[in-house]
């Protein structure tokens, strides 16, 4: 039984293991001076690159989507307060697409398309890029251009998405102090229509994501060699996947139903905001 104790004691420490976080441009400068990247396999790591930042709604959420509880949700509004984004060379715990390293062609050929993972065992590796400016974004207003970030050339494989409070930027007032504000309609056979307004504060998300940092998001694996654009695609359907709309009143256009504190919808929505699968990062050349 001693061995069992040892094993479980170690496993209950399950946590996202942060890697070497380079939290300032000065630190990235130090990495540049060092001249050698990590063991990520990038052969040309170390040059400074400018990374424009774009946040956009995932195309699958523009129209209605169906949640894990079988509700058909149509969003009409989704505003959020974003914080800094950080990029790492460590593999994400949840690989949604095939990898693109040349030597892994066989795996692609074998058909890896989607992955589940072991988020508790995520190791970020080295920080290779960042965007530090907080902003506020309306996902239904088209792609939002945020401040430019910077990084070093090399492999990018995972990212940290973060919320910020209090909200900053042009939509800060509209957010009313919340970090996320959404509105929409939820339908299900045999249930009356729900017209809802869902909000979350940083303290809600912090139950699942410390300081509102969502670690281990997928950064579509890329060997970045030059300046470009990092696009963050947000999938609100993940936010609502476990929300049981049956537990809120029907609401109306004039008075949409809100998620009461400590209710299942409130907890599920906040938990959804902290899911790494809701945020996917990609890179494209300028």
């Amino acid at each position: 039984m001693k061995e069992i104790n040892r094993a479980i004691a170690k496993r209950t420490l399950l946590t996202i293991i942060g890697g070497t976080l380079i939290a300032s441009t000065g630190f990235i400068g130090a990495a540049l001076l060092h001249g050698c990247s990590s063991d990520s396999g990038a052969s040309t790591g170390g040059r400074r690159v400018v990374l424009q930042t774009r946040v956009t709604l995932d195309p699958t959420a523009i129209s209605a989507f169906v949640t894990g509880f079988g509700w058909k949700v149509t969003l009409t509004r989704a505003v959020l307060a974003t914080g800094g984004f950080y990029y790492f060379d460590g593999a994400p715990p949840l690989v949604l697409r095939s990898n693109h390293r040349p030597w892994e062609f066989a795996e692609r050929w074998l058909g890896i398309r989607e992955a589940h993972a072991h988020p508790g065992h995520y190791q970020a590796g080295n920080a290779v890029g960042q965007m530090l400016e907080p902003a506020s974004v309306d996902l239904f207003a088209g792609p939002a251009e945020l401040a430019a970030g910077d990084g070093i050339s090399g492999f990018y494989r995972s990212a940290r998405f973060s919320f910020s409070a209090p909200p900053m930027g042009a939509l800060a007032t509209a957010l009313g102090g919340h970090i996320v504000l959404t509105e929409g309609r939820a339908e299900k056979v045999g249930e009356p229509l729900r017209i809802f307004r869902a909000t979350a504060d940083l303290v809600d998300v912090e139950r699942s994501a410390a300081a509102g940092h969502v670690e281990g998001c997928e950064f579509e694996e890329t060997a970045i060699e030059s300046d470009g654009v990092v696009t963050v695609r947000i999938k609100p359907q993940v936010w609502f996947d476990l929300v049981d709309f049956a537990q809120i009143p029907a609401g109306s256009d004039a008075t949409p139903s809100e998620f009461p504190a400590e209710s299942q919808p409130k907890i599920a929505f906040a938990q959804g905001l902290a899911q790494l699968s809701a945020y996917r990062f990609t890179y494209s050349k300028l």
């Binding site: 039984m1 061995e3 069992i4 104790n5 094993a7 479980i8 004691a9 170690k10 496993r11 209950t12 420490l13 399950l14 946590t15 996202i16 001249g35 050698c36 063991d39 990520s40 396999g41 949640t67 894990g68 509880f69 593999a91 715990p93 949840l94 690989v95 040349p102 030597w103 795996e107 074998l110 058909g111 890896i112 398309r113 989607e114 992955a115 589940h116 993972a117 072991h118 988020p119 508790g120 065992h121 190791q123 912090e206 139950r207 699942s208 994501a209 410390a210 300081a211 281990g216 993940v238 996947d241 476990l242 049981d244 299942q264 907890i267 599920a268 938990q271 899911q275 790494l276 699968s277």
Partner: protein
């Protein structure tokens, strides 16, 4: 134990001067020596004996349940020793079915003649059994047929008890999982893959963790009051017809309770989907070591 020779090493010699480039290699060996790697599997005491009730003397289920496995079938295949420079030292393409409820560490293969150096990309798969799957002595022909019929990669059968309550379950998982970039702690430091030394054999255990099916989250909560825990109450409650047999169908009909569980990015809306996702994480590396887990 099967003995294998390494497959071709197409690039190995081309980059032997890597360290001279000044970017440094952690490779502790630089000679032309060779060594061996012995792959084994083990289910630990959790699978061989039981997962106990959590208590002062033992860690386990926090809600008073204990689980004793009757069977823990797992099919390993396609073990690869390679590195991040594109070299492959060895590959075992065959698959072999094990019952890790049977006590003891079980040999998978002995790979000889591996160039003595660091191999930082070790991977393997747990995939459905086929007619060509070999049978380890821990498993039976009936086990193999069960796996083929269900297209299972993993099959577990167990009894769960709590006081006078008793539930049985037998769950087969028709999933295929790739374990990449395995790493583990060796001598207090994280080691990617493995290091082969001259004229010696290292033991590399593909450990299976039988407790993972019952976690309430994989991503630890930042709230210290919310501990990552093993739970069974919700699984037992999914036995809607109360016949004391919990089926996967019943789990698939039970919504995940967000007040107790966090899907941890696994995208699971039901207890069944969550358990099925957790099953993908049973494969480990050299005890507590881990791999990047991908759906095949």
């Amino acid at each position: 134990m099967k003995h294998f020779r390494p497959i071709a090493l197409p690039i190995a010699l081309l980059i032997s001067g890597w360290s001279a480039l000044g970017c440094g290699s952690s490779d502790p060996t630089s000679s032309d020596g060779k060594g061996s790697v012995s792959f084994t599997t083990w289910g630990e005491e959790y699978i061989e004996q039981e997962i106990p009730v959590d208590g002062a003397a033992s860690a386990g289920f926090i809600d008073g349940w204990s689980v004793k496995y009757e069977k823990f079938l797992v099919n390993f295949q396609n073990i690869v020793i390679a590195n991040s420079k594109g070299e492959t030292a060895a590959q075992i393409g065959r698959s072999e079915l094990f019952n890790n409820q049977v006590p003891g560490v079980k040999p998978i293969a002995l790979l000889e003649g591996i160039p003595a150096k660091a191999w930082d990309r070790v991977s393997y798969q747990i995939a459905p059994v086929t007619e060509g799957t070999e049978l380890n002595s821990s498993a039976t022909a009936a086990d193999k047929q069960l796996m083929i019929d269900g297209k299972f990669a993993i099959y577990v059968a167990a009894n769960a008890t709590k006081g006078n309550l008793s539930k049985h379950f037998a769950w087969g998982f028709a999933i295929a999982t790739q374990y990449n970039e395995c790493h583990s702690e060796q001598d207090g430091k994280d080691e990617a893959g493995l290091v082969v030394n001259n004229n010696s054999t290292i033991d590399v255990q593909l450990t299976t963790h039988g407790d993972h099916l019952y976690y309430d989250r994989l991503q630890a909560s930042p709230d210290p009051a919310i501990k990552t825990s093993l739970r069974f109450d919700t699984l037992a409650a999914a036995d809607k017809n109360n016949d004391n047999e919990i089926t996967l169908e019943e789990l698939n009909a039970a919504p995940l309770d967000v007040k107790l569980y966090d899907p941890s990015g696994l995208g699971a809306a039901t207890q069944g989907a969550f358990v099925t996702s957790l099953v993908r994480t049973i494969g480990h590396f050299r005890g507590e070591g881990e791999c990047t887990v991908s759906k095949l």
